[in-house]
Symmetry: C2
Subunit: 338 residues, 2 copies
């Protein structure tokens, strides 16, 4: 294996496309780290026209998402049902933990359960976190998906640890969002029920061999009745991920949703919408980045000084800073698109 | 009483300074509404050199914050203890409800308990929410405080409904932050204990006539031992707001914290820090505002079109938009400081 230069994204892409998972992991580390190199990697990935089909899984910690994901990986290798895609049999998995400041941290333990998958070189599993860089996961995850797409993965599963605001945002910024609950719901879900009803394209009641499954199913049904739907009625699937019961039905439901989006010309507009939301997040992150890069500069000191003295109000100060930032963009930018 | 032109902030200020609470309420409505007029009001207020001493109160719903605030109002009329300030005897109260889309909504019920205060024309009480405008409460509340300061209020109490992220941010962006808990803590506090330990300058155990007070006191003490403190050791005060027990001690503790900040030259740097944070929030809101004002413009359509086609990546697109926004600032700006 040739030695890879640490920061040559182009070479890393070539190696990753040839099936080298170490190179792919390095590309994702660069994305995770943020900054100019992340931008360069994302820009390169963006040139690739293909786009992986993304499936987000969210639900409270302990709902059994990892086990379910493990099972879905096995099915995803045969592609998404009802469509010809997925023929390369490659499956990418991003396990997102917004609370962990280090990648490969908290949820790596869960990954042990994915042993069988890890031994298969068509499967690439990666825990992702952000080290507090600007834009955070909302910017890093779409970039990571873009990298996996560019490298040839037709399907990417994105699993979050819990149902926090960031986690729900990440999981719902996918083509199909799966909300995983347990019989009896649980407290974390209870607090965000309405939010989860809004984002779910497929609902999975996992651990459906336990008491309370029927009630939870009825409860979900009733809540869906009350939810404004625009054409797609999210199916409710009961699974026992530990035994595999119902997992194929869940996978079919994901395929049905995909087919629905394609047949009704909804997939492209959905993705375009996501892209515009992402653009907005990148823009805000970029502005914050530039403020940071001004830190300690005479320009910024003059403005904050005037602010403290009361000769400038925060609005006028903000406008002055905006002017300064765009007159002297101090951050290197990605080479693509320039 | 002269008829006020709806949108003449200067005249409203003059009338409000003369003690007219209707004019003051109208100024705060303009702030709440956001946009160019809010900015004009804020800029006018900013010219006033005086700055009210701000006290934030946060804690779970039902902790008794409204009753406690009601009691504190009575004491605040005599000014802050240990200092000569507060001589006008005026007290401003902002009751913040981030979840309510309408001002005067959900927490107005609580205000009924403040009847005694409402009948006193030295006391001005206002519920505040934001109608979803950009920057939200993080921008609107400091502006509202600025208005109350400019009109002559020496003390402003800021009370939030709960301990959500926004509420904690607003309550902690004050000179003295009071965290109100109950014996046994309660679930909402439990989830955010560490965050609350960080922001509290004074801890109040309200409903201290109930069981579990001693345990909660000890618990708080132990957590403070574990918290990194830089000079000020937050006192823990037990109160029964309904009877008034301990409320004077709580008010003294607030006064002690203020004295500490002044004696150690910490108040000015603290406020400057807040101002810089606010500047950042205004800046981000301003950028989002400009993106919105570009909505539907040929410039934006060209960029999002190129983005969807893949000829521009999100980073390059963001940079192009930043350039467009600053070349043609389309929003009117505040007159001050220009």
């Amino acid at each position: 294996m040739p030695t890879l230069r640490r920061h040559d994204p182009g070479a890393l892409f070539d190696t990753a496309r040839a099936g080298d998972h170490a190179a792919l992991a390095r590309l994702l580390s660069l994305i995770e780290r943020g900054g100019p190199t992340a931008r360069e990697v994302a820009a390169l990935a963006y040139r690739s026209p293909s786009m992986a089909y993304t499936v987000g899984l969210t639900g409270s910690p302990g709902a059994g998402k990892s086990t379910l994901t493990d099972r879905l990986i096995g099915l995803a290798k045969s592609g998404l049902p009802g469509t010809g895609s997925g023929s390369t049999g490659q499956v990418g998995v991003l396990a997102i933990d917004p609370s962990s400041p280090f990648s490969g941290g908290a949820i790596l333990g869960d990954r042990v359960r994915m042993q069988s998958a890890a031994l298969d070189d068509r499967v690439f599993i990666r825990s992702m976190a952000t080290r507090g860089q600007l834009g955070g996961l909302a910017v890093a995850v779409p970039d990571a998906v873009r990298v996996l797409s560019a490298v040839g993965f037709p399907v990417v599963l994105i699993e979050t640890v819990g149902v926090g605001q960031q986690e729900v945002e990440v999981a719902s910024a996918t083509d199909t969002t799966v909300v995983v609950v347990n019989p009896g719901w649980g407290d974390a879900i209870q607090a965000n029920k309405a939010g989860l009803m809004e984002i779910g394209d497929v609902f999975v009641i996992n651990k459906a061999d336990r008491a309370g499954t029927r009630e939870t199913h009825r409860d979900l049904d009733q809540m869906l009745e009350l939810t404004e739907l625009d054409g797609w009625r999210p199916p409710i699937v009961e699974t026992v991920a530990t035994t595999g019961d119902g997992v194929e039905t869940a996978w079919s439901a994901i395929g049905d949703h995909r087919k629905y989006l394609i047949d009704h010309d909804r997939l492209a507009p959905l993705r375009r919408q996501r892209l515009e939301r992402e653009l907005r997040q990148v823009l805000v992150a970029r502005v914050e980045e530039r403020i940071n890069s001004l830190q300690g500069s005479p320009d910024l000191q003059a403005v904050t000084g005037a602010l403290a003295e009361g000769t400038l109000d925060p609005y006028a100060a903000a406008d002055r800073l905006l002017g300064i930032m765009t007159a002297h963009p101090s951050e290197p930018t990605a080479p693509a698109g320039r």
